[in-house]
């Protein structure tokens, strides 16, 4: 169930250039079941920017009722968020949307997780669950440059991890798709989150032959399915009236389900 709660900041720290890791505690952690769901945050309280900001859940700790997010402080809202520190409150609406289906990975499947930039965070909880369930997981994480890289060690500890940077300042130079091709990475199922061009490239290459799940991004109003801000066309009716809402039908869709 979706809850609204003033969660308490447990910790906040900068972990890469403009990238912050924020851990909150609150009762709504009880409702967090799938990796890949997101929360909708009112940053800066009453006087902050008007709209909430959608941010993915990057890890969940039911024991401590805590969850963590990783975000880029770029615009007004996220910059304000980055100023909150332990003991402060953050107004959270969530958990929202449908996450990555862990159960789509079947026994014996080799799993590939591909993330780009601030699309990387939700893959962390996903990887924890998949490895806990016994799957071998490979990670390919793409970033702009060396300064933007985060969580490499965390992913490393869960499975093989490749880093690509657009400017070549760290790891492989180029895009995540280059890594898959160059390194001959093999997989049965692919979960990805990142910029739309990346998702499109993955869908084009693997959408037909593999199990592929993609987490989409779209500007949002309500975050709960009521305002029609975040719709996309369905793949079987690409110019028609049928649609999916990224916030409540997604953000994760099976490749071929919606028009990217």
């Amino acid at each position: 169930m979706i809850k609204q709660e003033l969660c308490t900041v447990v910790s906040q720290s900068q972990i890469a250039k403009d990238i912050y890791e924020l851990t909150l505690s609150g009762e709504l952690v009880r409702e967090m079941n799938e990796p890949g769901q997101f929360v909708h945050l009112k940053t800066g309280g009453e006087f902050g920017p008007l709209l909430r900001r959608p941010i993915s859940i990057s890890s969940i700790s039911k024991d401590t009722s805590e969850f963590t997010m990783i975000y880029r402080a770029e615009g007004k809202g996220t910059k304000l968020l980055s100023e909150s520190s332990s003991g402060d409150f953050v107004d959270v609406l969530g958990p929202l949307g449908n996450g990555f289906p862990v159960e789509a990975s079947e026994q014996g499947d080799t799993v590939l997780l591909v993330g780009g930039g601030i699309g990387v965070p939700p893959l962390y909880e996903l990887s924890k669950r998949l490895t806990a369930a016994g799957f071998t997981v490979t990670h390919i994480l793409g970033f702009q440059n060396k300064e933007a890289v985060f969580y490499e060690e965390y992913f490393n500890s869960l499975g093989e991890t490749y880093i690509a940077t657009a400017d070549g300042s760290y790891g492989t130079a180029g895009f995540v798709t280059d890594v898959i091709a160059n390194e001959g990475v093999k997989f049965d199922i692919l979960y990805a989150c990142g910029p739309t061009p990346m998702l499109r490239a993955l869908e084009t290459s693997y959408g037909k032959n593999k199990k592929v799940y993609l987490s989409l991004e779209e500007r949002m109003g309500c975050g709960i399915g009521a305002c029609f801000a975040c719709v996309c066309h369905t793949a079987d009716d690409p110019t028609g009236y049928t649609y999916k809402k990224v916030c409540s039908d997604g953000p994760v869709f099976k490749a071929g389900e919606v028009v990217l």
Binding site: M1, I2, L50, L51, R219, C222, A226, C227, F228, H233
Partner: protein, 313 residues
């Protein structure tokens, strides 16, 4: 809450608070968050004759104390609204105000005729003011004669009272209000969004795929208050006010200006529980201010102006 009960043409409401059209879908999502029976009424998303996908995304952009939207009247079309959404809403004891939109006069008339037959639709809200639809739309909301004729046509077929939703993007809103009053409107709802635009610093392009969109939220409240203050003193129709309402205080300000009920739009996105919160806070605030009933607030700002007949009813 006796102090909040109000009655308007076609509407006998527990309280004067309702979500604004387009900001609440058809209620399904919010029904998972709280009991919709608490609401005074629900203004459902605009319904058109045929289903509409609406505009390409991005469809929303934030502005200082406001937001722009260019949804483009996405909706599943008259048939599905009737057969799926309105029937689903029948489980609640809440009157529905159906927002009716179209590009051609015939469309409006057809939708109005059919949707007004639905059991739980107690009033229509004629949306002649959507800034996000290219064809036709504009004239309905900006040319008094055109608005009047449309109102007349819709009144002829509607089985429930008809409220006309006015656009703020006009030189003379009183003239528009009088025209639809002449056309036989039973009430007004105002205001729809102001036309606006935001550009992206990096790309130099509009953030909205549709380029311009409708501005809503607290930023526009003073514009709405001024228009309602003026219109309410020149027509004798009841007004459902809207534009940036976020709190019980805002509701009272709208009543003072001349509104008889208030709709909450954008604030639902900021705080999905805002409507029940306002409904809870209103009686307390009324008492603090020394009113026995919310209707006493309507038109309090008019000062020396004679209060018009309707508002005393």
């Amino acid at each position: 809450m006796k102090s909040l009960e109000i009655s308007l043409p076609g509407l006998s409401l527990k309280n004067p608070i309702m979500p604004a059209s387009g900001c609440f879908g058809f209620g399904r999502e919010y029904s998972g968050l709280y009991d919709l029976n608490q609401l005074g009424a629900i203004m459902i998303k605009a319904t058109t004759l045929e289903p509409r996908f609406g505009n390409p995304t991005p469809r929303v952009a934030e502005t200082t104390a406001g937001m722009l939207n260019a949804i483009g009247l996405q909706n599943p079309g008259l048939d599905r609204v009737l057969n799926e959404e309105l029937t689903w809403l029948e489980q609640f004891d809440v009157p529905i105000i159906a927002n009716v939109a179209g590009s051609l006069e015939e469309d409006y008339v057809e939708v109005a005729k059919e949707i007004s037959k639905a059991k739980n639709v107690h009033a229509l809200e004629l949306n002649i003011s959507c800034p996000n639809v290219k064809t036709g739309g504009i004239a309905f909301g900006t040319i008094p004669e055109v608005a009047k004729n449309l109102t007349k046509k819709v009144k002829e077929v509607s089985e429930v009272p008809v409220y006309v939703k006015l656009s703020p993007n006009v030189t003379n809103i009183v003239e528009m209000a009088k025209a639809v009053e002449d056309g036989g409107a039973d009430g007004l709802t105002m205001i729809n969004t102001l036309l606006g635009m935001r550009l992206d610093l990096k790309t130099a392009q509009p953030i909205l795929a549709n380029k311009s969109g409708g501005l809503s939220g607290p930023a526009i409240k003073p514009v709405a208050i001024r228009m309602i203050h003026e219109v309410s003193q020149h027509v004798s129709l009841p007004i459902i006010g809207m534009g940036g309402v976020q709190s019980a205080e805002d509701v009272i300000e709208y009543f003072y200006a001349g509104a008889s009920a208030v709709a909450v739009g954008t604030a639902n996105f900021v705080d999905p529980f805002v409507c029940p919160k306002i409904i809870e806070e209103l009686p307390v605030l009324l008492q603090e201010l020394g009113f026995d009933h919310i209707s006493e607030c309507t038109g309090r700002s008019w000062g020396k102006h004679e209060k018009l007949a309707y508002h005393r009813a």
